[in-house]
Amino acid sequence: MSAPEAQIGIAERRSTRLPTILRGGWPWLVVLAIAILLPWLFFDWTKGRHSGFVLSLMSQMGLMIVFALSYNMQMGQAGLLSFGHAIFLGLGGYFTIHAMNAIDAGALWLPVELLPVIGGLAGVVFAIVIGYIVTKQRGTAYAMITLGVGELVSAAALMFNGFFGGEGGVTANRVLPTSIFGLGYSAGIQVYYLILAWTAIAVALMLLLTQVPIGRMANACRDNSERAQFVGYDPRLVRFYQVALSGLFAGIAGALYAINYEIVTFDAVNAVMSANALLMTFIGGVGVFWGPMVGAVLVTLLQSWVSLLSNSWLVYVGTLFIVMVIYAPGGIAGLIMAHRPFWEARRLSALILPYLRIVPPALVAVLGFVGLVELCTSATIGSHQGKALQLFHHEIDTSSPQAWVIAAALLLGGLLVTRYQSRVFATTWSTLTAETAQGATRQ
């Protein structure tokens, strides 16, 4: 069968079989089903209530997914590195929280379920105003002007107390009488499902935006601005649309933030939040649509779960980020997608043994690194706070050299073996790549 005939054949089959959403979209439906069912896995049947920690963690993941994906509309899809993306999240959050207070006071009637519309509107309005200025630039200059605007807005947030509430922020109550479904949103599970619904809507819309001409042109301008200009598009206008739309979704994320925490402070708008977007998106992977979602889940998990155990979760996120920048610029999603040709050629099993040889020493190195970081932290910050370092309920004396030597030895030994094994791994990888490429041409 020649190529055009084959395409027609596929198109016919597509129309006769299941609807597209069920065919190409089944992984999305699986993820959605998991997201719906997962809280019930942690349901405490003896007490008859949900695990509050899991619910708040998953709510946070949902809004961070929207935030990271909206960031990737600029970074991955338009090639615009922004250091001020938290502006849109923060302002969306502030407007939502004021809207909640207005509803509470009876000055405004809006269903609780539609609050993210307010956040999205605030996000898109500010993205239009700010985007008009910043999209005059691209590349490094864009990074700097967004840094400047980001600092400007976050400095203003501490300056104008009437709107931003100063250091204390603005609080509101999400238990409002205006729900469409008559829900009170006092239970965590209701809030979680509300956030999940909006996350699903936002993710679907952002996925759609990558398929339509506007998203495609953003990719074109990212890859070659001049050629896009020859085709007849104004790259600046394309950048502007992309930034405005990304502001819309960041604003929705901000509204979800406000609903989830019932408080919006300076933390939602400052540079740390902007950096968070960058870390999540890059660690997850900018090249694949679902990459930032993985990053958002992972970083939120590290943030909430590791921070319970250790003071230094940011050290781990930062180190992960640096390692990714040096060795895997495609992020986690990029790493996974690199295996795809082998999967399609059914040669993935050839990688099992090399993986078994490289993962244990790498884990040992990670263990040594974690040990050193924890020793260091507990020797300074921990002792300052009067905490002691414990391992398997044994208190570890940070002043004796024993623990330090063991941790350092684990790190160095692990790194050396990993380094040696990575060469072996690289040779296997390249032979496998050559073989699958040959197989593909033979077919």
Partner: protein, 315 residues
């Protein structure tokens, strides 16, 4: 009048400190196209090293050793980090320095704790030099001015009077051409990176006790130094110098001039009350806006003169 003179001197001190940081960053940025986020972190390392060295040795030893150590750290970052990510493009280099700044801040917190360390002005310089209209001027500020002036002269001589300086100047504008002529451009990059880091370290040594030595110092100084570099323009040390002084003076004067837009309007006969629209913006006092002004300048210059004051090419 006396307020004006003292503020002018303070602004000069701060501006020169900014220049010490920004000159290295301008050179690195212009030559390698890398916006080095870790530059202010090196400044912080310089301050902490100086604190540690002045505890065990003395301030004068720290003044010499800490910048050298910072230069070595810079060289190591360039040779073992930046070169590795260079093949992934400028964006990867920028992200690398960003991650590095992140980790350095956390590492400093891990080693020296979360609170500020007591790094003080050496007792030999802790006296008041002279008095203008009843306001004393500390000798340490004069010392800072002296050091930064010396550094300025040294850089200028190095760049204009020596062979390596000429190569650096050429590589600022046409790095590929310099490489084609047979010069080892990567080594020039390493030298510039190390030199810039040493200058940042020096700024840390003399600025750490003038300001505060704490883990957040890189984060507060970093964006302002970026503003200086962009404001001054790419590939121009003169522009960087002028921009440093402007930003230094603007920020210092903003702290002293206690006025607001409402006062200005009051002179025009318009009285601002709590019910006037935008009353909050109109009544905010200038000292509170001081931290904001550099970023206003940044946005303005990128809007109207994207190349900066004396920039020779686009960023």
């Amino acid at each position: 009048m006396e307020v004006f003179l003292v503020t002018l001197l303070n602004g000069l001190v701060y501006g020169m400190l900014l220049f010490m940081l920004a000159s290295g960053l301008t050179l690195i940025f212009s030559m390698m196209g890398v916006l080095n986020f870790a530059h202010a972190s090196i400044y912080m390392i310089g301050a902490y090293l100086a604190y540690e060295l002045s505890r065990h040795l003395d301030f004068w030893a720290a003044l010499v050793i800490a910048p050298i150590l910072c230069g070595l750290i810079g060289a190591a970052i360039e040779m073992y980090g930046l070169r590795k990510v260079h093949r992934n493009g400028h964006l990867a280099e920028l992200l690398f320095t960003f991650g590095l700044a992140f980790i350095i801040e956390k590492a400093v917190q891990m080693i020296w704790g979360l609170v500020a360390v007591p790094y003080r002005v050496p007792s030999a310089l802790d006296f008041s030099l002279f008095t203008i209209y009843g306001t004393t001027f500390p000798a340490y500020r004069a010392f800072m001015l002296l050091i930064s002036a010396l550094m300025f002269v040294a850089i200028w001589l190095l760049l204009t009077r020596t062979r390596i300086g000429l190569i650096i100047q050429a590589a600022l504008v046409h790095p590929d051409m310099v490489g084609a002529l047979g010069h080892n451009v990567p080594r020039v990059f390493t030298i510039v990176f190390a030199g810039g880091s040493a200058l940042a370290g020096l700024a840390g040594v003399i600025g750490g006790n003038y300001l505060v030595t704490e883990p957040a110092m890189a984060f507060t100084m970093g964006p302002i130094v970026f503003v200086v570099v962009v404001f001054g323009g790419l590939g121009s040390l003169e522009g960087c110098f002028i921009a440093s002084l402007i930003i230094g003076l603007v920020q210092t004067f903003a702290v002293v001039l206690d006025v607001s837009l409402a006062d200005l309007l009051a002179r025009l006969g318009i009285v601002v009350t709590a019910t006037t629209p935008f009353a909050e913006i109109l009544t905010v006092r200038l000292p509170r806006v001081g931290a904001l002004l550099p970023f206003v300048l940044l946005v303005l210059i990128l809007l109207f003169k994207p190349r900066g004051l004396l920039g020779t090419r686009d960023t």
